[in-house]
């Protein structure tokens, strides 16, 4: 007797009337390789009684509660649009922090984490806020720090996932789950900074655009503003986050909410007494704006969508769509593929080995190149040095030659001088001899002496040079002149 409980057919083959017979051929499979029947061919079997696994979702939920949840919101918007106030209002608490000035040199991101507890659910909430967005004169690079921050969170998760020893289930997920983009309430259209930033962010994070400080816009202007914004987003191809409509329980409410995007919100943490209740509101001389009044602003809608209905979906989209895209791009950038052209699955190891060999080959090539360049340079330097050496040699030779010439000249001169000196000496000695002879033997000897003296020094001067040139003594000259007259 097999009672029939609800049987949902998922199998390709129809569920047979006698499941036992169907089981027989579905049963035994091949030896150690087991071809599992996954998906198609899965038979649904009716249950004969209460088994008890309907408690499974509760078991899952209990596990998740004990682990805790984490949710990360990024608030992007110009300074002074009420980002911190809105966060305070959303989570009904006062987060720490001081307002930023308008004089920031660049865009920075400030991140704070808080532990919230509601009944038995613990939420680790991280709020990241841009500081100084839109304050610079040149805003071309304003989006870059934001994109880098988001990528850094993905990178951290990827690193953790790829570790050998990893603790993924206890890992504090810091990836941004939702990005609230604050649009200034000008009433006209989106600023170009907004468009550029949103375009850069739409493939990395779930963007929910909201119109901040919307109590500055009247109702009619607001509808026009919203239409303008949505059309601009569509025409620029910006993909904002759409609330999911595939599950029946939330499809309806999400569908209507999708039409109200972007939400026009007001934030306020002051409580005022309205009627006989304390409500969050902003007081103006002309009236009071109530934050939680749906006719006044869309704050309640934002809170519903962000927290109460779609928090899990936001997290799931971040993980399964944005993170997977980042991971795929990152790994492909590193050169890893899944299948090669023969459609055989690559193992990461093969790819890694190939890359490694490639890298080593490149290294070797570079080394070769460097070596060759080095050799070439050495050669050049050598040639240069040789040139210089040659020059030096030449110079040296030249100088030497010069030196030798000089020396020769000087030697010649010296020789001349020496000759003259010798000649003079001879004449001197001759003259002295004559003198001594003359003084000894009267006149004739002196004559003779003088003659000899005359002859001796005059011999060299017979060539014609004047006697005076050889003999510098005036006496000698005179005597020489006298005696030469006598001869």
């Amino acid at each position: 007797m097999i009672g029939t409980c609800s049987a949902v057919s998922c199998a390709v083959a129809p569920v047979a009337a006698a499941p036992v017979a169907a089981l027989a051929d579905a049963g035994a499979m091949a030896a150690t390789d087991i071809a599992r029947q996954v998906g198609e061919g899965c038979r649904t079997v009716p249950l004969a009684g209460h088994v008890g696994f309907d408690s499974l979702p509760d078991q899952l939920v209990n596990k998740s509660v004990s682990q805790g949840f984490s949710f990360n919101i990024l608030c992007v918007g110009e300074t002074g649009l009420g980002k911190s106030t809105l966060m305070d209002t959303l989570f009904n608490t006062k987060f720490e922090g001081e307002p930023a000035t308008h004089t920031q040199p660049g865009v920075q991101l400030r991140s704070n984490t808080y532990d919230l507890q509601e009944s038995n659910v613990g939420l680790k909430l991280t709020i990241v806020s841009t500081v100084g967005f839109g304050d610079q004169i040149n805003k071309e690079d304003s989006y870059k720090p934001i994109v880098e921050f988001i990528d850094a969170q993905f990178e951290a998760y990827l690193q953790e996932e790829l570790k050998i020893r990893r603790v993924l289930h206890a890992y504090h997920d810091s990836r941004i789950h939702a990005c609230l983009y604050f649009i200034a309430p000008t009433g006209h259209s989106l600023k170009s900074l907004d468009l550029v930033t949103m375009k850069k962010l739409d493939s990395k994070v779930n963007i929910i655009p909201i119109i901040a400080k919307s109590d500055a816009i009247s109702k009619s202007e607001l509808t026009k503003f919203k239409i303008k914004i949505t059309s601009e987003l569509v025409s620029n191809g910006v993909q904002i986050y759409q609330f999911p409509t595939d599950d029946e329980s939330v499809a309806e409410i999400n569908g209507t909410m999708n039409a109200h995007l972007p939400f026009a919100v007001i934030g306020s943490t002051e409580e005022l007494k309205i009627g006989n209740k304390m409500m969050k509101a902003r007081q103006y001389p002309w009236g009071t704006v109530q934050v939680e009044n749906e006719a006044h602003c869309d704050f309640v809608k934002l809170r519903e969508m962000l927290i109460r209905v779609n928090m899990e979906d936001l997290r799931e989209q971040t993980h399964s769509r944005h993170y997977e895209l980042y991971r795929r791009c990152k790994l492909e950038e590193m050169g890893f593929k899944d299948t090669d052209p023969d459609s055989k699955p690559f193992s990461l190891q093969e790819t890694y080995e190939a890359k490694r060999n490639e890298f080593l080959g490149e290294l070797q090539k570079k080394e070769e190149e460097m070596r060759q360049m080095f050799v070439q340079r050495v050669k050049e330097k050598e040639a240069e040095l040789k040139e210089a050496e040659k020059e030096l040699h030449e110079k040296f030779d030249r100088l030497k030659k010069l030196h030798q010439d000089e020396k020769k000249k000087l030697e010649d001169k010296k020789k001349c001088l020496d000759d003259e000196v010798n000649a003079f000496k001879q004449r001197k000695t001759a003259a002295e001899l004559l003198q001594s002879q003359g003084s000894q033997a009267g006149g004739s000897q002196t004559l003779k002496r003088d003659k000899e003296k005359k002859k001796a020094p005059h011999h060299p001067t017979q060539a014609g040079s004047v006697a005076g040139s050889c003999c510098k003594l005036p006496n000698c000259m005179v005597k020489g002149a006298m005696f030469s007259g006598l001869l």
Partner: protein, 376 residues
């Protein structure tokens, strides 16, 4: 009045464009009020607990998977037990005909069914091991089983390291292995001890005393104590493992379960009339053994453990502990992951204890595993 500096506020870390790797300064613990993240008092209802409902809806839509393996000698009532557990004809009860030869080698057979109860869809896969321990020489008869379990881990690992991954990786890993101990009444046999020692390191094992209707209540108790003593002597940690108890409530609950392991079970898939009620049971000449009656056998305890209370826990331990251990060994030996320039934070592989769900708790199993690590 003091002017606000550009950076350096009290609780926050200003992340400049040069510092992309810094995360917010909160540790991994999920317990509230860790010293560095300030707890915040909420002044009103925000609605965070609605996330639980969202989780439930998502889980129900996706469905659950559960893979169970039954190991034991022929004739111990494995197929009948599976049928009784899930109250459906998973297997045709294998009664050996006169002509069918006994299987010469260990062949694993696996069958998958989808069962649904109150909107919860469960894809159940049961793997049977006919021929286990039936030969004369049973040396290394656990190898095909260990090979099969490793193959499922390998399959999951390959899916996980693909570049383009599926959204939901099909989970074929064995979450629970029920080991049938024959009701000898003495103690564990060497085959049992060998098998349990090897298997407890890779998969959650729940030993049960099969065909417990051949033992009286007192015999059961003695048998159970002897088996527990054997398990302790040989350092075999069966599910629920003591080292994975998360908090005091878990420990109390699991201690009670650990006291009754191994359960003495009886399987039956026929219904009989007892006192006007239709119950599942075995009809014998001396009475009807009711399967669901706690006084007769401990089948309800096994069913509650496996399905009603600890199913998610079984899956979690398989995923967080056993699969991670397999992954560590596999990646260490084959260098599947890139470990070169550009991968800055990849952890080195110290020869330390293997993964445990609570890193703060010391693990007896880890010490045993690290002893085996040296044998690799």
């Amino acid at each position: 009045m003091f002017c606000f500096p550009a950076m350096g506020h009290r609780h926050c870390c200003a992340l400049g464009p040069m510092d992309p790797m810094r995360r917010s300064p909160s540790p991994c613990s999920s317990r509230p009020s860790s010293p560095r993240t300030p707890p915040c008092e909420m002044l009103g209802y925000v609605g965070i607990e609605a996330v639980l409902d969202q989780l439930k809806i998502k889980a129900m839509k996706m469905g659950f998977e559960f893979n169970i393996m039954v190991v034991g000698q022929s004739g111990l009532g494995k197929s009948t037990m599976v049928n009784t557990l899930f109250k459906s004809k998973m297997w045709k009860s294998t009664v050996q005909g006169l002509g069918t030869p006994t299987p010469q080698t260990l062949k694993l057979q696996s069958v998958t069914h989808v069962i649904e109860e109150k909107g919860v869809k469960l894809k159940l896969t049961v793997t049977d091991t006919p021929g286990f321990g039936d030969q004369i020489n049973n040396d290394k008869c656990w190898d095909p089983i260990l090979g099969y379990i490793s193959e499922q881990y390998e399959r999951y690992l390959q899916e996980e390291i693909l570049i383009t991954r599926q959204r939901h990786i099909p989970d074929t890993r064995v979450h629970c292995c029920i080991y049938f101990v024959p009701p000898t009444g003495h103690c564990l046999r060497p085959l049992d001890i060998e098998f349990l020692q090897r298997l407890c390191r890779t998969v959650n094992v729940v030993p049960v005393i099969a065909r417990a209707d051949s033992l009286t209540i007192e015999e059961r108790e003695t048998f159970r104590r002897r088996i527990q003593h054997n398990l302790r002597t040989h350092c075999i940690e069966v599910y629920p493992q003591k080292c994975f108890d998360e908090d005091i409530n878990d420990r109390i609950l699991n201690s009670k379960i650990r006291d009754r392991i191994p359960f003495a079970v009886v399987g039956a898939d026929r219904e009989h009339l007892v006192n006007g009620r239709c119950v599942l049971g075995r009809k014998t000449k001396w009475g009807i053994i009711e399967v669901e009656n706690l006084a007769h056998c401990e089948f309800p305890l096994l069913r509650d453990l496996l399905i009603r209370s600890h199913l998610q826990d079984l899956k979690d331990i398989t995923h967080n502990v056993h699969y991670e251990n397999y992954r560590v060994c596999r990646l260490n030996e084959s260098h599947l992951l890139p470990r070169g320039p550009g991968w800055v934070n990849l952890a080195q592989t110290p020869a330390g204890p293997l993964a445990a769900p609570q890193p703060s708790k010391a693990c007896q199993q880890d010490q045993e595993d690290s002893k085996d690590d040296d044998e690799y």
